[in-house]
């Protein structure tokens, strides 16, 4: 029954996937947000007929285009990685996982790409209203692509809509509705999409702040700043709300992730006064925090939205896993017997009775003598249980701090957007250069938050690829170490060159500004329009 793959190969596969996914997600959020911001600007253009909003849409659209092209390139390679590096995973859940992935591919190719083309090249070919509709379709299309990926990820976090078939040894679709309306997938989609909105807002706000600080393109910058800050402040509220919802969902769906996220080692039965750790230095070897600053009375209501619900600590979760491992071992041994002889109905019955724990049986395999669960007996069972149960907990240190960094960035950005929106609404932004500078220098924050968000989500899911069903270490393909090392270096170089290209082009075009519109620049270069009579504002009067 050995399905073991060289641990180094597994680690290299994980490293490669983590790196490519994190690289890819440097591009995605900007696309998710910018498309809707472009649609907003264009809406104002169509409603008011003011030319400057068309110029804004085109200028920011150009920056969006650079990002879009590179994002698609990094996304494509990822889809192949499932097949090449995670063949066991693809075999096991391909029936379910493949469907949303395929829909995403179709959406990305046909809907997004077609409409993006019309959006860029159709300005003079179709009417303003038709173009606006196209821009909205691009925005919807890119967010819908993300939706299908997050449905796939939702399945990995909280598998719903599939059942294991002992005859084919694969997970099979049981219910499409359960898959797409999985509450974990829903909340993930909204959190991630809004994270994209925040990213787009931050991008437009920061570049506009740069123009305002350097007194260039002020007409464009002031208006963009207004739109971006309002967009950002509401999106940030949404991100925080949905982040809270995700945590709440995880309390039910992924208790091991939650315990690690909050560095809770011991279950606190005094639910009302249970402290929430603001800062902690967790030690996995000692099973406790070496140092912590906790705020009492916060934990239970924050996570469970009640005063009474007990949140199990890591040490308890480790003990709770043991009976499931025992049951899982029985399931897997029975499954093997059934596979040898499909007439063995008794084996099938034993399997069925323990099926929900079969993932824990998989997990124990690496510690069984010769990786064969049949070799487990009463003598070696206790030590196998100890080791396997410990493995059910993700890396606490990474989980705790990745989560904290995301949340801290989130609250900081919310505050920044709120102040910026307030002063923008009063048209006093330029009186606050410090705030403008903060807006400029905070540019990397949404990317940092998103990367740590994914680390929270995916590190927290370990040791599983499909939570409680399929361990990561048997999901990989059995490549050689040489092959994996080679492709890892290749991917890293390729993706780094994409990032370099993005940064180079973005800085170049953002520095240049909306150069195509000279009439406008000349006016802005004269110190802005605010103090001038209306007739000096060509852009405002043109319809």
């Amino acid at each position: 029954m050995s399905m073991m793959i060289d641990p180094t190969v597994v680690d290299l596969s994980r490293l490669q996937f983590a790196l490519t996914a994190l690289y890819h997600f440097l591009f995605v959020p900007l696309t998710l947000g910018m498309t809707f911001i472009l649609a907003t600007m264009e809406t104002v253009y169509v409603i008011t007929g003011k030319q400057i909003y068309k110029e804004m849409t085109q200028f920011w659209g150009k920056l969006f285009g650079i990002n879009f092209a590179l994002g698609v390139a990094t996304g494509l390679t990822m889809e192949f990685e499932f097949g090449t590096n995670w063949s066991m995973y693809s075999h096991f859940v391909g029936d379910i996982f493949g469907t949303p992935l395929a829909i995403e591919g179709l959406m990305a190719f046909f809907m997004e790409s077609t409409f993006v083309g019309v959006m860029f090249f159709g300005w003079d070919r179709i009417s303003a209203k038709a173009h606006l509709v196209v821009t909205y379709l691009v925005a919807l299309g890119s967010n819908l692509s993300a939706l299908w990926i997050l449905i796939a990820n939702g399945f990995m976090q909280d598998p719903r809509g599939g059942t294991f078939d002992p005859n084919t040894m694969r997970m099979q679709f049981s219910n499409f509705v359960d898959l797409i309306f999985n509450v974990d997938a829903q909340a993930k989609f909204v959190h991630t999409s809004l994270a994209g909105f925040v990213t787009g807002s931050m991008f437009v706000m920061a570049v506009s702040a740069y123009y305002l600080l350097t007194k260039r393109h002020q007409d464009l910058a002031r208006r963009s700043f207004r739109i971006a800050t309002l967009f950002g402040v509401i999106s940030s509220i949404g991100v925080v709300t949905l982040g809270d919802a995700l945590g709440f969902i995880d309390v039910n769906a992924q208790p091991t992730k939650v315990a690690a996220m909050e560095a809770i080692w011991n279950t606190d039965r005094n639910t009302v006064s249970a402290p929430w750790n603001l800062i902690a230095f967790p030690s996995e070897s000692q099973g406790r925090n070496l140092f912590e600053i906790g705020i009492p009375y916060v934990l239970t209501p924050l996570l469970t939205h009640t005063e009474t619900r007990v949140i199990p600590g890591i040490n308890q979760l480790v003990q709770d896993a043991k009976p499931r491992i025992v049951s899982g071992i029985q399931a897997m041994v029975a499954l093997e017997a059934y596979n040898k002889d499909h007439a063995d109905t008794q084996a099938l019955a034993v399997f069925k009775a323990n099926e929900k724990d079969m993932g824990f049986g998989f997990l124990a395999m690496q510690y069984a003598p010769d990786q064969d669960l049949k070799n487990i007996n009463t003598t070696n069972l206790p030590s196998i249980l100890d080791k396997t149960a410990k493995d059910t907990i993700p890396n606490v240190w990474v989980e705790f701090w990745a989560f904290r960094l995301m949340v801290a960035s989130g609250f900081f950005m919310l505050g920044l957007f709120a102040f910026a929106a307030y002063y923008s609404l009063k048209n006093e932004m330029e009186k606050h250069p410090v705030l403008l500078k903060m807006a400029l220098w905070s540019l990397p924050l949404p990317w940092i938050a998103s990367e740590f968000g994914w680390i929270t989500a995916e590190n927290g899911r370990q040791p599983w690829t499909v939570y409680n069903w399929l361990p990561t270490f048997i999901s990989a393909s059995s490549h050689t170490i040489g092959y994996m090392a080679f492709s890892l270096v290749g991917f890293t170089l390729l993706y780094s060159s994409f990032i370099a290209a993005e940064l180079y082009l973005m800085f170049k075009y953002a520095r240049l500004g909306p150069t195509a519109h000279h009439g406008h620049d000349a006016a802005a270069a004269g110190g802005g329009m605010a103090g001038q009579p209306a007739f000096a504002k060509p852009s405002m009067d043109r319809k």
Partner: protein, 67 residues
Amino acid sequence: MKAFWNFLGLLAIMILSLFLAVITGDYGPWYFAWLVGTTMIVLIAAAGAVMFEKQEEEQQGKKGSIH
């Protein structure tokens, strides 16, 4: 005739929205929240820009009356 087509178009959008609202409202409360929330974010940001134009005009008016 144009008004009629506009009416039909808006009617179609309304029926689609109602359909989406009923389906997502029943099965996917967070999807529903996303639809409503995104619409709201776009509208408020757009309203902010329209307000900007109004403020500009007022400021121009004030400046104009001083001279």
